[in-house]
């Protein structure tokens, strides 16, 4: 009998690919944001509205992750920004190898901001480093104010939380202060933006947050 201690990280390979993405993006001065949420909370709509507002001032590109179809990439392509669709064929999250592959296929010359729309899922994507600078969690009012307590890991690893669909607040019993308190218990450092991607309400501070972090177009 013999026992060996190896202390080997199970996600080591993913972490190595993430490091390659990070190195590439650091070299080219690209800010990478990884968007996490359940399906239907409004990731693609937020991207459409954000791109429409920001693309004249900042060079942006998008990686779309979905279990099936390239519909979201088609929606983003209408904004005339570079976009690549990753279809995971059942996979519940993006991993860094997929992102590195997508990055190598894109023309990112001049791009300063890269959004990654992860697969809609509040559990699995939280464990996979994609080489991003910030994870951004999106929760929509229709999902209820208990989501931080039910999916704490995702709120813990994120730096920014977008509360979307605030236009629906009059019709729901979503308690905004309770949501904020729940999320802050898990992650006291979270930055919040309350927005409606549909009406555009609340988007200004979010856009300002983005623009303060990237180099504008020359």
């Amino acid at each position: 009998m013999s026992v060996i201690t190896i202390e080997r990280k199970i996600l080591k390979k993913n972490d190595q690919f993430a490091m390659e993405v990070r190195d590439f993006c650091a070299k080219h001065n690209i800010l990478v944001l990884n968007l996490l949420s359940s399906p239907g909370s409004g990731k693609t709509t937020i991207l459409e509205k954000t791109l429409a507002r920001i693309k004249t001032r900042v060079n942006v590109a998008v990686i779309e992750g979905d279990v099936q179809t390239d519909q979201d990439a088609v929606r983003i392509a209408r904004q005339n920004v570079p976009v690549v669709q990753i279809v995971t064929n059942g996979g519940c999250h993006l991993d860094a190898a997929l992102v590195l592959d997508a990055v190598s296929k894109m023309d990112l010359s001049g791009v300063r901001l890269l959004f990654i729309e992860n697969v809609g899922n509040l559990v699995c994507p939280s464990g996979f480093d994609l080489g991003e600078h910030h994870k951004i969690v999106i929760a929509s009012t229709a999902e209820g104010d208990d989501k931080p307590l039910k999916y704490p890991k995702t709120f813990r690893v994120s730096d920014v939380c977008l509360i979307n669909k605030i236009d629906l607040l009059p019709y729901l019993n979503f308690d905004v202060p309770a949501f904020l308190a729940n999320a802050k218990k898990i992650n006291p450092d979270l930055t919040f933006f309350q927005i409606s991607a549909q009406s555009g309400e609340g988007l200004d501070p979010w856009i300002a947050w983005l623009e303060s972090r990237v180099e504008p177009k020359q």
């Binding site: 026992v3 201690t5 202390e7 990280k9 199970i10 390979k13 699995c124 704490p152 890991k153 006291p188």
Partner: protein, 116 residues
Amino acid sequence: MHETGLAQEIVNIVEEIARQHSPKQVIRITLNIGEMVAVVPDMLKFAFQAIVENTPLNNARLEVQIIPVTAVCNKCRKSFHISQFEFSCPYCSSVDLTVRSGDEFLIKELEFKECP
């Protein structure tokens, strides 16, 4: 669910190390999984069993040690266990903490036996 992919990753790593120790056989694999890691140990074991069936790793037992989330308060310097993802000091309520453990996801140990 991603447990199947993770189980495959574990098998790949262990097979590679086992090859270096051949002809000894792996009889135990011990994982450390932090409480903050979004992995269900039973699902991981189930997936592992399915993958290793009819392979040399079929006799290896997958053991999981859960590592609690612990932190030290940067204000009152006390250490404590964090439950329910409540990241504040139970003694002084400060949220200025340094997390010490609970994020691990690794293969800690392998046990071998000599081939008969």
